[in-house]
Symmetry: C2
Subunit: 367 residues, 2 copies
């Protein structure tokens, strides 16, 4: 038997973090559980869906040692509804977990913990530190380009490239590609793919850590992101990411500089018609004017005019406006650069005069 006395706010915080990993549908009951691990180093809460694992240290008073598993969703809901202004006392036996908090008493069933999956790294071969907010921003800038189809395993995630003093994240769904990079002190050179699901988990960890530093660790099979009290482990996907460097365009014939927000607004309007037609818009740059237009056989047509600065040749091309809007939302500069080769080659978009982010999108054939 074991006893834990804990502040409710601390319990809610840690249970919330680990519960996010508990899958809503489980193959084995133990995977739907949160594990209490009472050790000499402290009390840890653990959850794992085999791909992602989280281990959070619970700051509490306790007596007794052992591992106890309880249904993760039920425990989360119980903890979330309990009053936060009092403490809770937990009593765990091999048969039940009792919670007393104010005038509430819960007695929850427990599950045999012996099958609970391992949540820890082997010896780490690569490690570095990164600001949580920076990592969050990098992930956000590329993750929307990843393929959402789980069967496209090599694109259903984000590729990490580390080395030469850079961390580079790349995602693509075959129609478009986003790349974000930052200078970082990194030893060695490695590249690996993390699934979209794992990336979402890491993004939420990074977001919850605000301005703090994260320690990154890699043991060849798994990646660990360690914050104070909370450790998140994700398994790498063992498939090859395509050679993205071959997609990046080299030389351009037309360069446009456009006001980012005005371009986004104009694209949103063309979308109203485009999504009821061929999902494409025509993009035409002549002199210093960019003309966007679209047509739907049933609903009508739209034309937008935007003043731009142009270098190089006139250009006519067609794109899915959704792909342009989604990228522009991640460009934080007032102006954006659109770099064209010709109407059949990929368009590269990037913030004006800022390094570290670029976006490539394939055109649609003009009919």
């Amino acid at each position: 038997m074991a006893r834990i006395a804990v502040d409710m706010q601390e319990l809610i915080t840690k249970v919330t973090v680990v519960s996010k990993v508990v899958p809503s549908k489980v193959i084995k009951p133990i995977l739907g559980c949160v594990l209490f691990d009472l050790t000499e180093d402290g009390v840890f809460l653990l959850a794992s869906d085999l791909e992602t694992g989280v281990k959070a240290k619970l700051n509490c008073e306790y007596e007794g040692f052992g591992r106890f598993a309880v249904d993760g969703k039920v425990f989360y809901e119980v903890v979330k509804t309990l009053p936060t202004d009092v403490g809770a006392s937990l009593e765990i036996t091999p048969a039940s977990l009792s919670i007393e908090c104010g005038k509430s008493k819960f007695k929850l069933s427990v599950v045999d913990p012996s099958d609970f999956p391992e949540v820890s790294l082997s010896e780490s071969s690569v490690s570095f530190e990164i600001d949580a907010s920076l990592l969050h921003k990098m992930i956000e800038k590329v993750i929307f380009c990843a393929a959402t189809d789980e069967f496209m395993r090599n694109l259903n995630g984000v590729y990490w490239e580390l080395g030469n003093g850079f961390l580079r994240l790349v995602a693509s769904d075959g129609f478009r590609l986003a790349l974000a990079e930052e200078r970082l002190e990194i030893q060695g050179e490695i590249g690996f793919l993390l699934s979209l699901k794992s990336m979402k988990e890491l993004m939420s960890v990074a977001e919850s850590c605000g301005d703090r530093k994260l320690r990154f660790e890699y043991d060849g099979k798994r990646v660990g992101i360690v914050a104070t009290d909370v450790e998140t482990l994700v398994r790498i996907v063992e498939v090859e990411f395509p050679d993205y460097k071959r997609v990046l365009p080299k030389a351009f014939k037309t360069k446009l500089v456009a006001p980012t927000n005005i371009l986004v607004e104009a694209l949103r309007r063309t979308m109203v018609i485009a999504k009821r037609g061929s999902e494409s818009i025509r993009v035409e740059a002549m002199e210093n004017v960019l003309i966007l237009s679209s047509r739907s056989p049933d609903f009508g047509e739209v034309t937008e005019e935007i003043e731009v600065r142009k270098e190089g040749e006139d250009i006519i091309a067609a794109f899915n406006p959704k792909f342009l809007i989604e990228a522009l939302r991640h460009i934080e500069t007032d102006e954006v650069e659109l770099n064209f080769i010709d109407s059949t080659s990929p368009l590269q978009m990037n913030p004006l005069d800022v390094e570290g982010y670029l976006y490539v999108v394939m055109p649609i054939r003009i009919v």
Copy 2:
């Protein structure tokens, strides 16, 4: 041909109001349309799904008369994405509706307006004025009890009872019933049922009118709610509402007074277990203590204790906690009265010392 020059903010407001009525799936294309009616009295925007109709006056400059119909969803989306800081000019011909706004140009297809349904009342037999905020609050207090199944036509709505200086709204799904009433200057006595869909529309109209007065009109077949510039018409449902007065309990054997919020919180916690078991909780009042408990064969059990003031006999009964929580959310007093007869009779809940709202819920048999 007709021309309209209008401020974008005014256009957005009025298109938003009428678009809400445009059904997402339509049997005939004309029902998916917004109608422009340019008359000597002004320009009106109209929409109807045959059950609910809305007519909004557009404050604008215009020339030309006639009726023109355009796809409601497309028009709404176009208007919502246009810049709001400039005016728009519309040009309507029997073939198209052109919109120019800043550097945006749309040319939308139009639909033959001849089949557009009638949106106006016959001569009104009953009419009164009511504060929009009061009507909104009354609807909110009962609408959650209406049956959501469209095939239960006589319960899938809210019953209006007018007369004897009262407006009374009643809704029930057969398991519970809510009744809200207010004193109002009303001539005559009538009762009619409005569908849940119509009620939601009226609730949103009342909400959007804030503190203003609404004029209510009734012509025997339809109800009109008239606000400045906007008139909403709903058709009554021609079926009989059950005799709800027979359900209202008369004399009670037990009266509890409980703190509303503490009771809600305790119910939310019992729900965590109850929804994983028989969806019922046991309610037991002895001395001045109310004990709530529930049990799930797979997940465990919960007990809650609440201090209450009790008059009359001890009581044990069982309820669906969801039905109790939903009613308590609409009780605004710090304390709530629970009036019991016995474990098989309906429980009446009402705010302490406040008239005009009561809620009746059937117990579950204790097994």
